[in-house]
Symmetry: C2
Subunit: 336 residues, 2 copies
DNA sequence: CTGAAAGCGCTAACAC
DNA sequence: GTGTTAGCGCTTTCAG
């Protein structure tokens, strides 16, 4: 059997309390301490986190709910969150929710039974009721790349409005006027769309709602929507996709239709995933400071877990437009 | 406070044992059972997994150690593993090890302290000592996309030899004779290289060890190596990269050098990640049956956890060559 | 400074 | 069937 605190105590000739004290760095006589440490070493003793947690201590495990781990942008965040969490001595249990309220509720419930110390909810968390419940029972929660205006919960996001504004402005400066948007059914996309609209308005361009379509975030759906947009009698000269996956899907469709990018059609994405560098042409996109965002959420969550957090806060980080070759000047014949 | 088994027992007018029995589907009088169930509902009672596990039951949590979650192929596996685990009622805690023996040892140790029910080790797990230890203390372990010939541990892999053989044969059939390999420092790459060599040998072609280089798996290193290969006085006409990331890196380098793909240079990858579809040209690569592999490992691990597994086994699944446009006939001037 | 003992929430004999 | 009770391994008063 694995050695327990009793084994250590006995072999060291002290009580289990003393052993516990040395593990928790409490005042212990030098002699006893050394002896205990030595025995722990000899027995290769590792305290049980379960037993410890049962008495009220932390499990040093956090739950990380995200939309879909297979999405490269999400996986990138997960890696960063994991790294930071490990640095701080926490493990991460990951659950993909697919934007499904049922899964969101189920997984949070399961993880609560397992006594995770807190939750990071990434992307658009649909089930507000669950968040509200977490909040009111004082379970530490922070949102990542998502925020809930009506809820008092700390969050870390990128400035979606600014991102959308910059992309649209960039496209407008290239002479585009018919700029379509392929969005996700998520709050972040709404922010990007707002930014896009503002840019259009600031330049006195007409905002056409029929140029804005919502996808279910899958590549297939992205292709379907891109195809539909390009088949219009009055097709856009530029497409702003709310993530790189959708942008790539658009590129694929455009290529299939024999359109040259960016000569015939400009395409911009969002997230700056590795997809955007490998695509042809390399994708103009918006970079999110993933590393900083993830370190921050983890730190904020741990502050809450440790009860050190003063106030809830919403941190908004600035995105950065990465201009590459998928966007170019608007073809003349399409100008009004 | 959260309700405990005592609260339920009291309110239902029974003993805690009875409550415990109904939770574990043991024989309980119909009346009592209904009453207890009703109270559990009213109190919204959720049993503590910690307390339950402390008495010897499972935590229904498995540890999943992988090289790097940010790698799209790995993230794809993680998603599948997660899905299957959830279907079976398990949660997954994920740890990226970066092929670092220290991290491998550290994370397994931490997770053991947290009493995970078992481990899935994916990719090349360097620290054989750790695996051996796990095995000898009867901790359930299975390997995914990796195997350890000298260890008696169940594993699920793709047939790397076959994959390498097929890629090389395909290239040879296109007339290539100078085929370079950019590999990872992993056992899977060794298998692929063996397959590649066998194909060359079967066709009576010379095997040149200086055409085989090992990367540290990063894109940057991939680019560096590809560049070095192409700068040789006697450059290859085709590159077989042992994963898509490295293949993309090669494409990037080739493009930078003004080489046309596949006219001047053919490039093949491995894994069939979404990168291979979005790249230009689309990448010829080898598909691994990720979904099946992942369902299998999870099922096998759970069998071990439940003590139902009869014997250790090594399952090898067959890969599938996906021919796309990054490979083409060998340019004539380069033929010997 | 250290030991004895009472829990933490649940399971599992062992009785009744 | 169901209640009593002794742990599971660790933390934490409370004495001494």
């Amino acid at each position: 059997m694995k050695p327990t605190i009793y084994d250590v105590a006995e072999k060291a000739g002290v009580s289990i309390a003393t052993v516990s004290y040395v593990m928790n760095n409490q005042k212990v006589g030098k002699k006893s301490k050394e002896k205990v440490l030595k025995v722990m070493e000899e027995l290769n003793y590792k305290p049980s986190v379960l037993a410890s947690a049962l008495t009220g201590k932390r499990t040093t495990t956090i739950g990380f709910l995200l939309p879909d781990l297979a999405n490269p942008f999400v996986a990138g965040m997960a890696r960063r969150v994991e790294d930071r969490a490990h640095e701080r001595g926490f493990n991460v249990v990951i659950c993909s929710t697919d934007f499904d309220e049922g899964k969101e509720a189920l997984y949070t419930s399961l993880l609560k039974q397992k006594s995770v110390d807190g939750f990071i909810l990434a992307g658009d968390f649909k089930n507000a009721a669950v968040v509200r419940e977490l909040l009111q029972e004082y379970t530490p929660v922070v949102l990542l790349a998502a925020s809930h205006p009506s809820l008092s919960v700390t969050s870390v996001t990128v400035d979606d409005f600014a991102g959308g504004y910059e992309v649209a402005s960039h496209l407008i400066s290239l002479g585009h006027e018919k700029i379509a948007v392929i969005a996700e059914d998520a709050a972040s996309s709404q922010g990007r769309i707002h930014g896009y609209k503002q840019a259009l308005q600031d330049q006195g361009l007409e905002i056409r709602e029929d140029m804005i379509v919502i996808s279910n975030s899958s590549s297939e759906d992205g292709e379907r929507l891109a195809e539909k947009l390009l088949d219009r009698s009055d097709p856009p000269t530029a497409i702003f996709a709310c993530n790189d996956l959708l942008a790539i899907a658009s590129i694929l469709v455009a290529r299939k239709k024999g359109l040259r990018i960016p000569d015939d059609l400009s395409i911009a994405g969002f997230d700056n995933t590795l997809l955007s560098r490998s695509s042809d042409p390399p994708l103009t996109t918006v970079e999110q400071p993933v590393q900083d965002m993830c370190s921050q959420v983890v730190d904020l969550l741990i502050e809450e877990i440790e009860g050190k957090s003063k106030t809830k806060q919403r941190i908004v980080m600035l995105p950065k437009l990465m201009i590459r070759n998928s966007t170019g000047v608007c073809p003349l014949e399409n100008k009004v």
